[in-house]
C-alpha cells in the first residue's frame, strides 16, 4: 500500500478501535438523533401526509445536527492523546491525517444512517424502499459532502477556546448547498420525482462534493501548522 492510503488507514483503524472500545460517542449520537426525530414527530402531530412530505427535510436535519456532535469529537481524541499537531511528526504527507479522519467520520455517519433511515420510515410513515437505489446515492453524496466540510472545520477549530460554538457557526453556512441538495433530492425521489428535479439536485450535490473535497484536501496542511 502506498504511503498516503496506508497512513490514512492507520488513523481510521486507530479511531474505529478507540470508538468501539468506549462506544460513548456513538451511543450519545444515536440517543440524540432518536430524540430529534421524535421531537419533530411530536411537533407536527398525527398529520401523516404532512409528515411524509417533510420526511426528507426532517431526516437530513437530524443527520446534520447529530453529525455535528460527531465532528466535534474528530480531533478531540488527538488533543487528549497529546495534540493533533504531533501527528505531523510522522513522515509522509499530512493529508493522510485528513483522509483518515474523513473516513472515520464517514463510517460513523453511515452507521448512524443505517439506524436513522428505518427509524424515520417508521415514525414518519414513508417508504424508502420504493426508491432505495436513488436514495442510497443521495445518502452517499450528502454524507460525503457533510463529512468533507465537517472534518476540515473540525481541524480548523480544534485549538480554539470557543470551538463548540464556532464549529456549527462555520459549518452550517458552508453546508447549505449540501443540505439543499440532499433534502431536495430525497423529497423528489420520495414523491416519485414527477417533475424530474432530482437529477439537478444530485448534480449540485456531486459538484459541490468534488469542489469541496479538492479545496479542503489542498488547504489542510496549512490548518495543522503553528
Amino acid at each position: 500500500m502506498s504511503d498516503l492510503p496506508r497512513r490514512a488507514a492507520a488513523i481510521l483503524w486507530k479511531d474505529i478501535l478507540s470508538e468501539t472500545r468506549t462506544r460513548q460517542g456513538f451511543t450519545a449520537m444515536l440517543s440524540f438523533a432518536a430524540l430529534v426525530l421524535f421531537m419533530f414527530s411530536f411537533a407536527i402531530g398525527v398529520d401523516n401526509d404532512l409528515l411524509g412530505r417533510l420526511a426528507g427535510g426532517l431526516l437530513w436535519v437530524a443527520i446534520v445536527f447529530t453529525g455535528t456532535l460527531s465532528l466535534g469529537r474528530t480531533f478531540q481524541n488527538e488533543e487528549l492523546a497529546g495534540g493533533t499537531r504531533l501527528l505531523r511528526l510522522y513522515p509522509g504527507d499530512v493529508r493522510a491525517i485528513y483522509l483518515g479522519k474523513l473516513a472515520g467520520n464517514l463510517v460513523v455517519l453511515a452507521a448512524l444512517e443505517v439506524v436513522l433511515f428505518p427509524a424515520a420510515a417508521i415514525l414518519y410513515q414513508v417508504d424508502f424502499t420504493a426508491q432505495a437505489g436513488p436514495l442510497l446515492l443521495v445518502a452517499v453524496l450528502g454524507t460525503f459532502g457533510f463529512s468533507v466540510i465537517g472534518t476540515f472545520f473540525s481541524a480548523l477549530t480544534v485549538h480554539l477556546r470557543a470551538r463548540e460554538l464556532l464549529l456549527p457557526l462555520l459549518l452550517f453556512p458552508a453546508l447549505v448547498p449540501v443540505v439543499l441538495g440532499s433534502v431536495g433530492a430525497t423529497e423528489a425521489f420520495l414523491a416519485g420525482d414527477p417533475l424530474g428535479r432530482a437529477g439537478g439536485w444530485l448534480r449540485l450535490l456531486a459538484s459541490y462534493d468534488v469542489i469541496l473535497f479538492v479545496v479542503c484536501l489542498w488547504i489542510f496542511p496549512v490548518v495543522l501548522e503553528e
Binding site: Y90, P91, E226
Partner: protein, 216 residues
C-alpha cells in the same frame, strides 16, 4: 564530522513574545547535546523547531542536511521527537499504540518487534492493557519504546527523565548510549542537570531564549 543540526541566529516569536532570540547551535552526528535552562527559556521551542513542528521566525536552521523549511519530510523520516507530555491513545493497548506509530512511520514492525520494544522498557506485562490505566512513568516508557521502532539519525528528547523511577532513568541512559553508539545525534532538554549531562558531549544553557553558555 558532519552535523545533524546547525542553527544560525534562529529566532522564534509567538505574537509579541520572543521564545528564542538568535540561537546558534551545532549538534554533530553521533553526539549527545544537553539543553539546560529554567522554565520558559526556549528549550522546548528549540526542539519543536528542529523537529519541524514549528518554523523559525528568522535565522537559518539546517537539520540532517536540509535547510528548513525545505526537506521537512526527509527530516521527519530520520528524526524523532519525544515530547514532554507524550503521545498515547488511552483506549489502545501498549502494543496497539506502537502498531499505530509503526504504521504512521512506514515501519514494517511485526508483533514480536512491538513487544520487544515494550520489553526493552519493562512494559512486557502491560503490553495488552489499555494505556488508560497506566501510570505517568509507564506512559513515558511507552514513548521511549516508540522511538525504538525505527533507525534514527536524530533523537530529540524533551524532559525524558520526568516521572521515571530510578530504573526508568537508567533505561533512558541506556537508550541514549545506544542511539549515540549507532551514530545518531541526541538532544536532551531537561531540568535534571546531572542526568542530562551524563553522556553529553556539549552542554548548552539557555537563558531568556538565548544561548548563555556552551560547555564541551
Amino acid at each position: 564530522m558532519s552535523l545533524a543540526v546547525a542553527a544560525e541566529g534562529v529566532t522564534r516569536r509567538f505574537g509579541r513574545r520572543w521564545a528564542l532570540r538568535g540561537v546558534d547551535l551545532t549538534v554533530p552526528r553521533g553526539a549527545v547535546v544537553a539543553l539546560l535552562g529554567a522554565n520558559g527559556t526556549g528549550k522546548t521551542t528549540l526542539l519543536r523547531l528542529i523537529s519541524t513542528l514549528l518554523k523559525p521566525t528568522a535565522g537559518r536552521l539546517e537539520v540532517l542536511g536540509h535547510t528548513l523549511p525545505a526537506g521537512g519530510d526527509e527530516i521527519r523520516t530520520g528524526a524523532a521527537f519525544m515530547t514532554a507530555g507524550g503521545h498515547a491513545y488511552e483506549e489502545l493497548t501498549g502494543v496497539e499504540n506502537l502498531r499505530f506509530a509503526a504504521r504512521m512511520s512506514g515501519t514494517d514492525a511485526t508483533d514480536d518487534d512491538l513487544r520487544d520494544a515494550l520489553a526493552a522498557f519493562d512494559l512486557r506485562g502491560a503490553a495488552d492493557l489499555p494505556v488508560r490505566g497506566w501510570s505517568t512513568g509507564m506512559r513515558k516508557r511507552l514513548e521511549l519504546a516508540r522511538l525504538r521502532l525505527r533507525p534514527l539519525e536524530l533523537v530529540l528528547l524533551d524532559e525524558p527523565f520526568v516521572s521515571l523511577d530510578e530504573d526508568g532513568v537508567g533505561l533512558v541512559h541506556d537508550a541514549v548510549r545506544g542511539w549515540r553508539d549507532a551514530g545518531a545525534a541526541v538532544v536532551i532538554a531537561s531540568h535534571r542537570v546531572e542526568d542530562a549531562s551524563r553522556h553529553a558531549d556539549d552542554v548548552v544553557r539557555l537563558v531568556g531564549g538565548r544561548v548563555d553558555d556552551v560547555t564541551a
